[in-house]
Symmetry: C2
Subunit: 253 residues, 2 copies
């Protein structure tokens, strides 16, 4: 497939790499950030532009991977006739693209992507399209880079997926942030927690998270909880979160 | 080293296995749960007992891996003279063992251990001892099963480590629980989040959690946050935690 990548951030960079690896051709990279666009173009042995009017009209697919609040503006300036155009956002309806083409859709990667990644991770892909033809094309593209992890999902389902992703990734990372700051203040080596952090994540391959729940909260171990709260007395932010999550675990709904 | 394991739960089972692998001899397993004790004894080709008076007095080390609130009771029934005795608890002072022997200490694994584990993970070990001789022996034992991840830590430091471990493991797992229940209710496949969950954990090998923070909260993306809260209106527990953690991320202390 011949593809134009619109955007030069993390999602653009990683999906572009996956497309290249799968044998697709990146015809062009467009970005307002000319320097980032030309870096990606160099990597993919293709051309770049920062003029929207110079976007190559001969691709099969236009992938818009830009911040959510820029998608509409970009779409309003594209006139692609019947070429397929998609965005990659979880929380933006696909209809925002209907002004750009009659064949539009979404190509949402359920993964945290970073340009600097050396090893590209597995990327579950949720796609949607404005009609059967577009759905077929996007499914085929998704299968070519994500094998079994390809699912059709409409706007509302994508929004729900995003909410769950916020819990298991953004919020989880925030707990890592809180623990690492605490370690820094208390002179503890946060890197010693890496095996525990990875074990906690990897074990979900084999068991449901409910079965994996351990710790003083689920055991209703008041004595240990009191000791922890005493030690957190000078860390009000940690203490608030400790209390709320302990209570939430004990609700056991 | 000749070792008696006291307890037959997750920590007893996994540390016992690590000791065996490192070439130590498990002299005996004691547990009130005779059936679990004999299973472990069978695995390690040794004997078991559920009578505390029959604990073998000729070992070099007695490892007490039982629930926190049973340690004192066990210790009060042991008279080990100068044999080294340790418990494995984060939040229990080492002095609780002084009635059992003059040489006592702690052997705390900073890892979430489960009997069912096929592949034993890396286990950072924090040890403490009542005197130089005990410290030396425990350091040597720790090095034999955990290589570089061996650190001397006193009671207060161990308690602080435990607090941080609660955040990065128990609380993180609770976020997985909440997300998986939400997925079940909404008809989403939670297993599709596994690559994202692992990526979020593994990337901390290469960057600080602060650098890895992404998502609508850190971007102050009010529009997406509003969409998420709207979709969580029938999920009060999730909504409360969403609001608190979003606020905590935005504090950016």
């Amino acid at each position: 497939m011949q593809i134009v990548i619109i955007g030069s951030g993390n999602v653009a960079a990683v999906l572009g790499r996956k497309f290249k690896q799968a044998g697709h051709e990146i015809l062009q990279v467009f970005s307002r950030n000319a320097s980032e666009a030309s870096k990606l173009a160099y990597e993919w042995d293709t051309e770049s532009t920062n003029y929207i009017s110079l976007i190559n009209p001969r691709a099969d697919l236009y992938l818009i991977a830009v911040p959510d609040n820029s998608i509409e503006d970009i779409a309003s300036r594209l006139k692609l006739g019947s070429k397929v155009v998609v965005h990659t956002a979880a929380s933006v309806p696909k209809e925002i693209l209907q002004q750009a083409s009659e064949n539009y859709g979404v190509f949402y990667p359920l993964q945290s992507l970073r340009k600097e990644m050396k090893n590209l991770p597995v990327i579950p892909l949720y796609y949607d399209g404005s009609n059967e033809k577009t759905l077929k094309l996007l499914e085929k593209l998704a299968l070519s880079i994500s094998g079994e992890n390809v699912i059709h999902a409409k706007d509302e389902e994508r929004l729900k997926l995003h909410v769950a992703a916020v819990f298991v990734s953004n919020f989880v990372n925030h707990l890592y942030v809180l623990a690492s700051r605490y370690c820094r203040k208390e002179g503890l080596d946060f890197s010693q927690f890496q095996p525990l952090i990875e074990e906690t994540a990897v074990r979900l391959r084999e068991m449901q998270p409910e079965q994996a729940q351990t710790g003083p909260a689920i055991r209703h171990d008041k004595e240990t909880i009191e000791k922890h709260l005493a030690i957190l007395k000078d860390h009000p932010q940690l203490k608030t979160i400790y209390l709320l999550l302990t209570e939430s675990i004990q609700q056991g709904i």
